[in-house]
């Protein structure tokens, strides 16, 4: 019996605008999950760089659709109510979030931390999932 080939892809997102913080760096479309890598640089406006966390109800969805793909796991960023407090305005953090796997037909996604976001929430809209680079698993 021929085994089905597991396919996984990588998307390098477009270069960020200067004000993007965190920046969406990379999206990995894995068979079992969607991994999104972010880079965050502690801003000077907060004393000692402030703090970060991610809301447990953060989700992704195909742009223009309603189906939610929920947060499964995180790395280097605590899930609220826990916080990561920076120690200085020179600190930085690379973190990853894992969501439920997207359908293969998805072309653009939204990342939603809050449906009605404030300026501090990590919401991103209409992120292209092209071009896709095959991953070696």
């Amino acid at each position: 019996m021929r085994s089905k080939k597991v396919e996984a892809y990588l998307v390098h997102t477009e270069p960020a605008k200067a004000q993007d913080n965190p920046r969406v760096l990379r999206i990995l479309l894995l068979p079992h999950a969607t991994q999104i890598d972010f880079g965050y640089v502690a801003p000077w406006i907060y004393k000692r760089g402030g703090w970060i966390r991610i809301a447990p109800h953060t989700h992704i969805k195909c742009h223009g659709a309603n189906q939610k793909f929920h947060l499964l796991d995180s790395k280097n960023i605590p899930i609220a109510p826990k916080h990561h407090h920076f120690e200085s305005v020179q600190d930085w953090m690379m973190f990853s979030l894992w969501f439920e796997a997207l359908p293969a037909t998805a072309t653009h996604i939204d990342i939603i931390e809050e449906e009605f976001p404030s300026a501090d929430d990590f919401n991103f809209y209409n992120i292209s999932l092209q071009p896709r680079i095959p991953l070696i698993m």
Binding site: L10, H12, T13, R23, L25, R26, L28, D37, G39, V41, Q90, W92, M94, S96, I133, P134, L135, I136
Partner: protein, 328 residues
């Protein structure tokens, strides 16, 4: 006993054939056929005769194997039925050599390269060497500065594989200076260690040129299935031979760097040459003019600055200015 890999393989096949009780007394043709089957090539009769003669030689030149030719059966056999070359225990000399090698490798911290290598060392130690040292009260006589493991070192195995097997890598890079994250598509060809910091040399698709990246600033590297872009061999060799350190001064080409060194400094340069191209011309007073032919690097500038008044750059002038003005 100095053995080539292919000879050792043949010895093992001969040993296996002589111990096979189902087909005792193999003759020369059967040994050749077995080698052909297991090695994918057919050794000559002369080669196998030499192999058998070598196996018969006493230690340390051979295995002291009791191989006899049985005229009646027209084949070879071990006169000692329990003999096998793989069953030979390590002798004291072997143990001594292994112990010294392990101690040396530990001192050089070679084990950091690979987790599996560490396990191999641990196995040897637990087998007998460490025990032998403890029993005899022998303290290690080699020590170097073993620094704590640095960030990013866990990726070294992946990049080693990428360099060896020419596999492109996608990773995230953070620039300490610019305070910016970038996603890179790298085609690595060299891993280099300098002052306990590890660097990757790679063609960066993102930058469109060969670049150097500190492993401590690289995150989440993954292999990707795209065509590997090879770096020109001559260009790659530049990074191997013609630099002291890691990061060439932007735009710098290979040139002669001439420095004036104090009397005390000269002693150290004599004892610890900075680069293979180093040429010292001593002056009557004991001071010297030292020339290097290399690509000036940030690390060379840093080194010169760290020597204070002992070292002064004579030429090139641009490097003198760079070293005095650059915020390193």
């Amino acid at each position: 006993m100095n053995l080539s890999k292919s000879a050792l393989r043949r010895y093992k096949i001969i040993d296996q054939a002589l111990r096979n009780k189902m087909r005792p007394y193999p003759n020369m043709q059967e040994l050749i056929a077995l080698c052909e089957q297991l090695l994918d090539y057919s050794p000559s009769i002369e080669t196998l005769q030499k192999d058998i003669a070598n196996m018969r030689l006493p230690y340390p030149d051979g295995f002291d194997a009791p191989i006899v030719y049985n005229r009646l059966k027209r084949g070879y056999a071990y006169s000692d039925l329990n003999y096998s070359i793989s069953g030979i225990p390590l002798r004291d000399e072997d143990m001594q050599a292994l112990a010294e090698a392990v101690e040396f490798m530990q001192a050089m911290d070679i084990g950091r390269i690979s987790e599996s290598f560490n396990h191999a060392i641990e196995k040897i130690q637990s087998a007998s060497i460490e025990q032998r040292q403890r029993v005899q009260g022998i303290l290690p006589v080699l020590q170097n500065m073993t620094l704590p493991q640095t960030r990013g070192f866990e990726h070294i195995k992946l990049f080693y594989k990428a360099c060896r097997e020419q596999m492109p890598v996608s990773c995230i890079h953070y620039s300490y200076k610019k305070r910016v994250f970038n996603v890179l598509m790298l085609h690595p060809f060299l891993i280099k260690e300098f002052e306990n910091r590890w660097y990757i040399y790679a063609y960066s698709e993102t930058h469109g040129s060969v670049r150097t990246f500190g492993l401590d600033r690289i995150f989440e590297p993954v292999f990707v299935k795209t065509t590997f872009i090879k770096t020109d061999k001559a260009q790659a060799e530049l990074f191997l031979k013609d630099v002291y350190g890691v990061f060439p001064v932007p735009g710098a080409k290979k040139c002669t760097v001439k420095i004036h060194v104090s009397q005390l400094g000269t002693q150290y340069f004599q004892a610890f040459p900075l680069h293979s191209s180093q040429v010292i011309k001593k002056e009557n007073s004991g001071t010297s003019v030292i020339c290097f032919t290399l690509i000036p690097t940030i690390e060379l500038a840093r080194f010169i600055l760290a020597q204070g008044g002992h070292v002064k750059i004579i030429q090139p002038k641009w490097f003198k200015q760079f070293t005095s003005h650059a915020l390193l």
